[in-house]
Symmetry: C2
Subunit: 174 residues, 2 copies
Amino acid sequence: MDIQEFVHRSIGSWKSQRSVHHLAFGHFEAVTSTIQIEDLAIDEPAVLALCESNKISPSSIAAPFRMSWRAESDWDDNVNQGSSIFVPVPNSDRTGQLLREIGYAEEAPAVANYSFTDDQTFVLLTPYDRASAEEKIWFVSPTLRCRVALIKTSAGTGALTASFSSEIKLTESS
Amino acid sequence: MDIQEFVHRSIGSWKSQRSVHHLAFGHFEAVTSTIQIEDLAIDEPAVLALCESNKISPSSIAAPFRMSWRAESDWDDNVNQGSSIFVPVPNSDRTGQLLREIGYAEEAPAVANYSFTDDQTFVLLTPYDRASAEEKIWFVSPTLRCRVALIKTSAGTGALTASFSSEIKLTESS
């Protein structure tokens, strides 16, 4: 598994069930969402702009993609939706950086480090100003993807939330 | 990480939040439980009996333990509780079998195969008569353990439920 193969398998529309465990209080939150992942050309203006703002040469990137989501939580009536561009910058078959426009824990650009384990799990570590995110994503089958995300304080002393998504593929995108 | 180290880190009392995703219908179930894991002597009568019923020599086992649980689901008012003995039978530092008295998906004895990945995740595959379970368990810190379990039909064509547990250590057991 490398980043090209991982992104290729991820392209399409997914129906996601996400459970968030708020660890300090033992609360559960249930989120239902649809996620769309589409590949982008390397010379897409938004991709080039993200490269430039990170001082990365477009010749060193691979498999840029856009992820869009629309989510409903059982905690409130609001619909949360948005989209972000992601640009992988491999430095080996199994490791690299992932540039993204918008981070999960804070609404600011973020650079994450990724790696693949020997059982083909994609591991993503993202530092933010006041927190860090540790994600594991793997394919159970071509149509079922699992994702575990832990949000930790920046001191790294404890996890604040642990969340789990099961994502079922709805359609193949061409 | 080997099985002795993994069991050693697991010994103690844990408060668990578990979310079950029933994939076909998109339903969420929330389960709160306490789990106790205690180590057992290799010559404990119940351990020797489990070895004998599986035709395994007690000289080839390592780090047997008992797991007890008491769980409450938001789906009904019943408390589910029980306990089971687990006996690892390593065949290398990173792989082996795990004997258990009671399986998760069916109430019958089960033999599972385990392995550790290069990022120290314990992976457990359990075949049952009509289903199979695929579990990943890893320590985020000494006091936070995550567990993802997938229950699949025996034909292996699809996952029926995906569940995620975040387990916080309450006390150290001596």
